[in-house]
């Protein structure tokens, strides 16, 4: 896991980011018809259309346009929204991003909180009735799309029981308690599928670990079940959770977006879906670029971090 591997990985990362940014940039060319017509609507003079085209830089050569766009993007200018109220894209994204990040982190944390005990109960008596129940439950939960899960959660907790509000958000600056209270149901929705996934993976790893000799040794020493599960078995089993977090990231971003739409929260999801609805592709371009960069970078960090977390992998790749 020498520096060389990391550098190679970094080079690949930059290449992938360039390709993705180019793809994002090319989004506009997939649009059927003239972009100027889609922006202004029908019935304007040819001069006006020409002006809009010149404004978008559509008359320049493609590659030049891309370089210009990329340069602007790198200096933090993602353009201006093409539908009223013509806001600055970067500003909007900076306002929306914290909400999404908070939701995703809360959801992930909740999932870890739920899945640890579930996986331990399952693995402790693998094949037992409780284990089968948990396995069946997690398999079932994985077949429920997040928007459906969210609607059901709203139905129970907001509509029937009335414990939590829906479609309200309170910023962190308005107090942590309020903020968490409003974020609870959305985070729970996100956590549901992740919990199922984590539980299944961790259970399997735990079962493997519990068959190892050192666990037998611990049992022979007369250690309690709790001690064995938490102190001896959990650590060697938890590496795959790190892997899993990387794999879950794509789904996590997806469900965060859907949950924001569902609960009408002012995050990236509402931003991008609203923009897609209005045909505001400049906004969509900016949002896609930002999300893709975050996604790729976090994934790469996780990739590199395995080696440092798990000595077994480090050795395998020398």
């Amino acid at each position: 896991m020498a520096l060389r591997t990391v550098l190679k990985r970094l080079g690949e990362l930059v290449l992938v980011l360039l390709i993705v940014s180019f793809g994002t940039f090319m989004l506009i060319s997939l649009m059927p018809g003239d972009p100027a017509v889609s922006i202004l609507g029908e019935g304007h003079s040819p001069a006006e259309y020409a002006a809009v085209r010149a404004d978008l830089g559509l008359n320049d050569p493609l590659f030049e346009r891309y370089l210009h766009w990329l340069g602007e993007a790198l200096s933090g200018n993602l353009g201006t929204s093409i539908v009223p109220p013509y806001v600055d894209v970067a500003d909007r994204i900076m306002g929306a991003l914290p909400v999404s990040v908070e939701l995703a982190v809360l959801g992930m944390g909740m999932a870890l909180l739920f899945s640890l005990p579930l996986a331990m109960i399952s693995a402790h008596r693998a094949g037992g009735r409780l284990d089968r129940l948990i396995s069946a439950g997690t398999f079932g939960v994985l077949s429920v799309p997040s928007f459906l899960a969210g609607l059901l959660i709203i139905m129970v907790f907001a509509n029937q029981l009335g414990w939590f509000p829906r479609a309200e958000w309170s910023r962190l600056s308005e107090g942590l308690g309020q903020n968490l209270y409003h974020a609870f149901l959305p985070a729970l929705t996100i956590a549901l599928a992740e919990t199922a996934m984590f539980t299944r993976v961790l259970r399997n790893d735990l079962i493997g670990t519990l068959n190892e000799d050192f666990i037998l040794a611990a049992k022979a020493k007369g250690m309690g079940t709790m001690h064995i599960l938490f102190s001896d078995a959990l650590r060697p089993s938890s590496f795959s959770l790190v892997t899993l977090m990387g794999i879950s990231l794509g789904r996590l971003i997806g469900s965060t977006i859907i949950v924001e739409y569902l609960f009408a929260l002012p995050g990236m999801g509402s931003l991008i879906i609203g923009a897609a609805d209005n045909g505001d592709f400049v906004m969509v371009q900016g949002a896609v670029l930002v999300i893709a960069v975050i996604y790729v970078v976090v994934n790469a960090l996780i990739d590199i971090s395995y080696g440092y977390l798990d000595p077994r992998i480090r050795r395998a790749h020398v």
């Binding site: 591997t5 990985r9 690949e12 290449l15 992938v16 980011l17 390709i19 993705v20 793809g23 994002t24 989004l27 997939l30 649009m31 059927p32 009735r129 089968r132 396995s135 069946a136 398999f139 994985l142 077949s143 429920v144 799309p145 928007f147 459906l148 609607l151 059901l152 139905m155 996934m197 299944r200 993976v201 259970r203 399997n204 892997t243 990387g246 794999i247 990231l249 794509g250 789904r251 971003i253 997806g254 977006i257 859907i258 569902l262 879906i273 923009a275 897609a276 609805d277 505001d280 371009q285 949002a287 896609v288 999300i291 893709a292 996604y295 790729v296 990739d303 395995y306 992998i313 790749h317």
Partner: protein
């Protein structure tokens, strides 16, 4: 990528279940005691009677009826599973059979939808006289109820299945053919070809699936063809990786060497020796992929970016219940939601089973 840890493919919903290596042992009620025919038959009949009585006799707001029907079906399931174990031995897996039955019925209904005696599914002018938001009642003209415009939910669910299945299966087949071909080429030639394809695959994977769909939906018209095209881009990277990994495994085998030493061209080796072996694991993975894409399509339609109302799709039917409608009429969400869940669950379960059997990575060479 090949230098770093080989990581399973990222997918939208559930395709990575197998990664856990867990056998989807969903049969909670599996009993350890010896199965008896009389007990199975008793439970079988009792369950049917309970469910039947619930359908015919209970009249309330629907909730009690629903619970009793579910209890009846549970009893019936226990009975049927026991009968199956008596007849076919302890390995009998009722749940898989039920899932297969559900999918067959769904596909047949979707194919023959125009011939079936349904209420109106789409045309608002024809449903003016129909009751709006009718609660499901299996014995009425509208077995699964109606929506806000008096359109028959059963008809809409079946026509929605048409859209969902056509789009998802079409996308998976497209992804499988194109992705499989690219993957085989990458896995066979390795080196530069593989590196270029690897970078391309990673770039496709660099955008989270739902974001990719939304971005495409912004610029494309929401026709079924365009939706299928967008979905196939989601299936592509995992198909490429799967085909590549399997090709690399098979390229080492003796029959490939034999073919090469007899002077077969690269194209012949790939087409005649490798592809027939790679198809099976790809096809079983495709089953799981279908469920992922059904969820993706439903999500997109739910967000209003996929199939446009009044054309039914499960996603936009569920979206109809968003807001106050489903506070008072939960069935508007529950009916399409249940159908969606059962379908995704069935594809997942059967797909996992198929994958366990045909994926050569797991098999001992």
């Amino acid at each position: 990528m090949s230098e770093t840890v080989e990581r399973p493919v990222v997918t939208v919903a559930t395709a990575d279940v197998e990664m856990a290596g867990v056998h989807p042992d969903v049969d909670v009620v599996a009993m350890r005691r010896k199965p008896r025919a009389w007990r199975g038959a008793l439970l079988f009949v009792l369950g049917l009677v309970v469910a039947g009585v619930a359908v015919a006799a209970i009249r309330d707001n629907g909730w009690v009826q629903l619970v009793v029907i579910l209890v009846g079906l549970g009893i019936w399931y226990a009975g049927a599973a026991e009968l199956g174990r008596v007849r076919f031995g302890p390995g009998f897996d009722l749940l898989s059979w039920l899932c297969a039955t559900w999918l067959v019925v769904l596909v047949l209904a979707a194919i023959f939808a125009p011939l079936l005696p349904f209420g109106e599914s789409e045309d608002l002018t024809k449903s003016i006289l129909a009751p709006a938001n009718a609660t499901p009642d299996l014995l009425s003209d509208y077995p699964l109820g109606t929506n806000n415009f008096g359109l028959d939910l059963l008809a809409r669910v079946v026509y929605g299945a048409r859209a969902s299945l056509v789009v998802s299966i079409g996308a998976v087949v497209l992804g499988m053919v194109v992705g499989g071909a690219i993957g085989v080429v990458a896995g066979y030639y390795r080196r530069a070809v593989d590196a270029v394809i690897g970078i391309g695959t990673n770039s496709l994977l660099a955008v989270p699936p739902l974001i990719l769909l939304i971005a495409l939906a912004t610029v494309l018209d929401p026709t079924l063809y365009n939706i299928a095209f967008a979905l196939s881009l989601l299936a592509l990277p995992s198909m490429i990786r799967m085909a590549r990994a399997n090709t690399m495994a098979f390229s080492q085998r003796e029959f490939v060497l034999a073919s090469k030493s007899m002077g077969a061209s690269s194209a012949r080796v790939m087409l005649r020796e490798i592809v027939p072996n790679v198809v099976l694991p790809l096809a079983s993975y495709a089953m799981v992929m279908v469920s992922v894409l059904i969820v993706a399509e439903a999500s997109l339609s739910f967000l209003g970016l996929g199939v446009q109302a009044p054309s039914p799709s499960w996603g936009n039917m569920i979206a109809e219940g968003e807001g106050d409608a489903f506070k008072e009429h939960p069935h508007i969400v529950l009916v399409p939601g249940t159908v969606l869940f059962l379908t995704v669950f069935s594809f997942n379960l059967l797909g996992e089973k198929a994958r366990k059997r045909f994926d050569s990575r797991a098999a001992k060479l």
